[in-house]
Homo-oligomer: 491 residues x 2
Amino acid sequence: MEHKLSLYNSLTRKKELFKPLHSPHVGLYVCGPTVYSEPHLGHVRMAITFDTLFRYLLHLGYKVRYVRNITDVGHLEDEVAGTGEDKISKKAKLEQLEPMEVVQKYKLMFQEVLQILNTLPPSIEPQASGHIIEQQQMIRRIMDNGYAYEVNGSVYFDIETYNKKYTYGQLSGRKVEDMLANTRQLEGQQEKRSPLDFALWKKAGDEHIMRWPSEWSEGFPGWHLECSAMSTKYLGETFDIHGGGLDLLFPHHECEIAQTVASQGKDHVRYWMHNNMITIDGQKMARSLHNFITLKELFTGSHEKLERGYTPMNIRFFLLQAHYRSTLDFSNEALQASEKGLHKLLKAIENLDRIQAGKQSTLSVVPVIEKCFEALNDDLNTPIAIAQLFEGVRLINLLLEGKETLDPTDLERFSTFMKNICYEVLGLQPLEQSLTHDSAEEGLLQILVDLRLDARKNKDFATSDLIRDKLNELGIALKDTKEGTTWERIG
Amino acid sequence: MEHKLSLYNSLTRKKELFKPLHSPHVGLYVCGPTVYSEPHLGHVRMAITFDTLFRYLLHLGYKVRYVRNITDVGHLEDEVAGTGEDKISKKAKLEQLEPMEVVQKYKLMFQEVLQILNTLPPSIEPQASGHIIEQQQMIRRIMDNGYAYEVNGSVYFDIETYNKKYTYGQLSGRKVEDMLANTRQLEGQQEKRSPLDFALWKKAGDEHIMRWPSEWSEGFPGWHLECSAMSTKYLGETFDIHGGGLDLLFPHHECEIAQTVASQGKDHVRYWMHNNMITIDGQKMARSLHNFITLKELFTGSHEKLERGYTPMNIRFFLLQAHYRSTLDFSNEALQASEKGLHKLLKAIENLDRIQAGKQSTLSVVPVIEKCFEALNDDLNTPIAIAQLFEGVRLINLLLEGKETLDPTDLERFSTFMKNICYEVLGLQPLEQSLTHDSAEEGLLQILVDLRLDARKNKDFATSDLIRDKLNELGIALKDTKEGTTWERIG
């Protein structure tokens, strides 16, 4: 593993050389989606960022266990309450809302969208509801260690006691005193000793459908707990990388650290990574601003903010053209500019196979290769890496035009490099897969139909018949109607 | 819900009129795959049989909650042991085999294959490992009721005690005395009071990686338990239909009934349905006979028993041409015969839209519609229903030839019927374009290139330029070379 991959560690706030704990094994945990609504751009940036990291680590030769969870407890309760479904009839099990049906619907939708975006499936996709025992065990350990207390069947994490031995707030750089000063005691938090304390286990009210027995009450785990429990279950007490969206840094990941430290006496994560957010036309995405675009809308163009639909690879490439730690502004102009660049890049890579090797190399391919890897090794700087690929495109064109040549060894090396980075690491798909065949076909047919119409107007029946016959040979029948010429496939 | 759907109930061994407990709701539970190897034909027959039932119930207007489980505990242990992985290093979590990685791999493979075969996703797909608490609760209830006992941290179901109050063996028609007479005491079963007793909870040996704490031991649930626990969790104490492969009838479903009755004092299933097995060239499928064909092999033709690959719809149609309760012999000849029939059927349905309605109907479409529904209502007799669809094909051809006519109302009714049964109920997909898009595109472009060449020869430069410009608008550039005209996509 000869490389100098550095990753920005949100905990230390600096780039650090990446050294796995048990090389060549790498443990990677990423906070996945809460499956109670359609996948939107924010989810996709998280998924593509860490998919690209996963792909790059694999490319470097690591054996990566990539765990991305599915949150299906806790958040759902609000959704259920929000739709007024708490008045559900108790008559028959089948007539009640079953939260797991909601989970199944949106989980499948996520998996489909992420597959279309060419992300690799994680090694394990654990669901929170499937790990209640593990979460209860962790609560027990935290209580035994003195960092949690029970009130009326609910269990809360005790920030004050924790902060006497450890430091709460290290990841977000917040101080407990400041947080307390800025927090008002909210209604309904009477059970907590301090407003900063958070729930590890909540006793279920009557409106909660998802509930499990425990030594404290019939209830459900607090949202932060699942990631502490599932990451250490599948990756060990200490593992390499934990990723997620920047919006999860506080309080979710801060609480995750506190829970894990309180449970096992030490932190579980060596490198914390956070991808930044997406804005639209400079504005934050929010349902209330009507700029909350789902992936389905992006693919089809069916949103008032969209001039047209964009292909999955266009969206993926656009996201990779920004560094994952930068905010990214989403606009039609930016997407369309990105589309042109993507087409140029993929076309050039297709043309690689048409280049003939020369007897000797008139240029060196080393700089472009080295600079590209330097960029990827510099905290996964995909925009710089892509800029180097465009330098590669320039070289390809020089080679195609015969202005420069490469000997067989250099050509092979250069070609492999371009394809590997594009397809394997960045996860882009070859050009022919990116085109929509249907629309091309429609367009070609329309030209032929128009030509035939012109020919008939000019009484050039030889040509009009020729077009009809040739199309017939392709299995396409033309039909002249009052409304114009239509076509259909024949057997 | 006006229909007379009868289903063969494996428990009563007769066809019974289907009356849901809480109409229009229907609860359907099906034993899904154990995800530790590639999907094969047996899995597919199960999935397609109950997918067709699911589709037909939806077509009849029911609101169906379809639960199909994923078995990811228990069976896996053997697999792990079988690969000699019990000697796994304990050094680091990441260096150990993680059974959930195996689960993820094969689960995704199943879901992909079933999607390709156009099965609808179930409403809920619960995993056994995600329902340990529910299984432990059920064991507790069975023990409290006196039908299970603990030995050395394992818990066994007590057949003898159960059989004093209830009857074990009703589903399979076996008698406890006969079973006992035919069973030898096997080694390693010393803990059990009787060889017929089965495990509800097993204390984990050192070689078992999947293990959870319990009041009895750190261990894992017995295989039969998950279906009792998950079916009643999501569908209620009593629900309508429980399906599965015939190989699961004994002991799996027999034990499931015993567990549920012992836990709640009454049976949970109203209609038990079992699909029969698939043979190949008259032989049972078995790995040792080298006739164990996976779906991937079927799609690609890469198995010594296969003359070529078969399309997903070919396989689906072939399975539906046999009644689900018959054994089905799988052969190249049978598949190819089925393929011809499928093509004829789909082609005819495509042609439906070309039929012009007449002023009056010269034939009645009622018999074919009624007979088709009669067949489906007769325990989902798909082969007879398909025979009626072929009668429909005959009518379509008479109508196309103008030998018979239908008035607009009858034509609409007949057309809707044919399409609904084919696409919605049987889950077939419209005839794939006989041409792939790629070759269609190539063919269309070639016609245009030839037309342009003709135009230039005739010095009709207006037309040749028009073709070039129109193609440019579609993003296709023509390039005239010595070898002829080529084209490429431009940005």
